[in-house]
């Protein structure tokens, strides 16, 4: 007997909705509301006593690895980092509770964005069982309460399609540009320097960096250097100089990240396990980008 299981991809996705993507009101509304979801202050200076910037980087790197290993939707990680930053901007937190907070933020972001969300049990395993599922669920309420249940935050991903469709890009390169831009967004989310930037600026800078990195400016003059920056700045209504600075900052973060990876690879003996770890600590595809 032949059994054909015609099960389609369990990840059911909505098709891109032209009513949402080809209407500038959507973009304008996103630009209007995005700043409501930024963390209130640079919390290392004014709120946190126990937590240092390098600890945020540690927990962010771990969260990115979990999201990648679990093949989460691209938005989950930046959204979880948004929750984490907003929580830390209002609640002094001890460093031994930081990983729990990271897990809770992934739990919430995954539930909001995915058809099959991450489970509490799985997330606890990823903390090496240092927290219990029950604790994760209890702290979920605390995070929700402190964020005033405002979970539908605007992320840089919300802007990507709006930006891409307004650029004269070769169709065959679109997929690659989108992928690189998403990688840059993830990279920005791991770096606290970008935490206070509006998502639209990070999105615009990431698309700019992706296009420059892929050297698509050969044929199309509007895709080269300054004219690209001006075009991008117009789309999201960003100041040209700020955008330029942001894009340069993104590129320099990429360079320092690549250097770090190279150093780690040189230092460590090239056993397979360590190599896998190294790869995990940098977003996928970052190394493929040709600067």
């Amino acid at each position: 007997m032949e059994l054909l299981c015609c099960e389609v991809d369990p990840m059911r996705r909505a098709l891109p909705d032209p009513n949402l993507l080809y209407d500038d009101r959507v973009l304008h509304n996103l630009l209007t509301i995005e700043e409501r979801y930024l963390p209130q202050c640079s919390y290392f200076k004014c709120v946190q006593k126990d937590i240092q910037p390098f600890m945020r980087r540690m927990v962010a790197t771990w969260m990115l690895e979990v999201c990648e290993e679990q093949k989460c939707e691209e938005e989950v990680f930046p959204l979880a980092m948004n929750y984490l930053d907003r929580f830390l901007a209002v609640v002094p937190t001890r460093k031994c509770h930081l990983q729990l907070l990271g897990a809770v933020c992934m739990f919430l972001a995954s539930k909001l964005k995915e058809t099959i969300p991450l489970t509490a049990e799985k997330l606890c395993i990823y903390t090496d069982n240092s927290i219990k599922p029950q604790e994760l669920l209890e702290w979920e309420l605390v995070v929700l309460g402190k964020l005033k249940w405002n979970l539908a935050a605007v992320t840089p991903h919300d802007f990507i399609e709006h930006i891409l469709r307004k650029l004269p890009l070769p169709k065959d390169k679109l997929l690659l540009i989108r992928k690189h831009a998403q990688t840059f967004i993830a990279l920005c989310a791991t770096d606290f320097n970008f935490a206070m930037y509006p998502p639209s600026m990070i999105a615009t800078g990431s698309v700019g960096a992706a296009i420059c990195g892929l050297q698509l400016d050969d044929g199309e003059s509007s895709l080269s250097g300054d004219s690209l920056t001006e075009l991008l700045a117009k789309i999201t209504n960003t100041d040209v100089d700020c955008l330029k600075a942001c894009q340069e900052q993104i590129e320099s973060v990429l360079v320092s990240n690549l250097r770090q990876v190279q150093q780690q690879q040189q230092q460590s003996n090239p056993s397979k396990m360590v190599d896998e770890l190294d790869q995990a600590s940098t977003p996928t595809d970052v190394r493929d980008i040709n600067l």
């Binding site: 007997m1 054909l4 409501r36 690895e65 209002v90 903390t127 700020c242």
Partner: protein
């Protein structure tokens, strides 16, 4: 024997990642970042955070969510008891049995006038509807819409009146006394032992405080907490 064929490769990949994750196979990602967690301390911290949140909520809404009663004092908001049957269906208590929802008809000390004919709370497509409200005939969609519209219009009118009265009060300098709603509410609680937040609705904001409330969405204008509540931040870098 049967050959089962999964149509999509990416489906398999996802299933592998999500469902059949070998829980004991530790990858490098499973790690404890900041040392052991003191579970007792964590639980104390949890309780204090939950208390903070509940106090914030109480201040924000002038409502005690534990006892389900409005606060006595002359707060920012005043609560007024309304008949359960007079609110839109959306706010009414329902009971879920399996996949169906039924409206809950509370037995009250006072016979509810609108209590018996509340068909708006029933899903017209609900096959079990007749089992619950057998006396009621299913309303036509037009009737339902009209009822809803009238509710909305009534609400708006009420709001306008309130705004007007607030303005009048501003000019005349009359301070609005808190409505004597709390005793009534308490009485009702003791009689039916099931008060719901929807049994009360905000009557009006006091004009003097409304501005402060706008400045502090957290709703704690008087006693500023050590750490500011989440607020809309200023535009940056533009």
């Amino acid at each position: 024997m049967s050959n089962v064929h999964l149509s999509s490769a990416s489906a398999l990949e996802r299933l592998a990642a999500r469902r059949t994750f070998p829980l004991h196979a530790r990858t490098g990602v499973c790690r404890n970042l900041f040392g052991p967690v003191d579970h007792e301390e964590l639980s104390r911290e949890l309780k204090s955070k939950l208390r903070e949140i509940s106090e914030d909520d109480q201040r924000r809404w002038d409502y005690n969510f534990q006892t389900d009663t409005p606060l006595d004092g002359p707060g920012r908001l005043q609560w007024e008891e309304v008949e359960g049957g007079s609110v839109p269906a959306f706010y009414r208590e329902t009971l879920q049995v399996g996949r169906c929802r039924f409206p809950v008809l509370l037995v009250r000390s006072k016979p509810a006038l609108g209590g018996m004919d509340t068909p708006a709370g029933v899903n017209p497509r609900d096959p079990h509807q007749e089992l619950v409200v057998s006396a009621s005939s299913s309303p036509s969609p037009q009737g339902k819409t009209a009822a809803l519209e009238s509710t909305i219009a009534g609400g708006k009118e009420r709001l306008n009146q309130e705004n007007r009265s607030d303005q009048l009060n501003n000019y005349s300098g009359i301070t609005i006394k808190p409505a004597p709603c709390a005793p009534a509410a308490l009485k009702r609680v003791s009689s039916s032992s099931a008060a719901h937040i929807t049994d009360f609705f905000v009557k009006r904001k006091r004009p003097g405080d409304s501005k402060a409330a706008c400045d502090h969405p957290g709703g704690c204008p008087a006693s500023a907490p050590a750490v500011p509540a989440e607020q809309t931040p200023r535009k940056r870098l533009r």
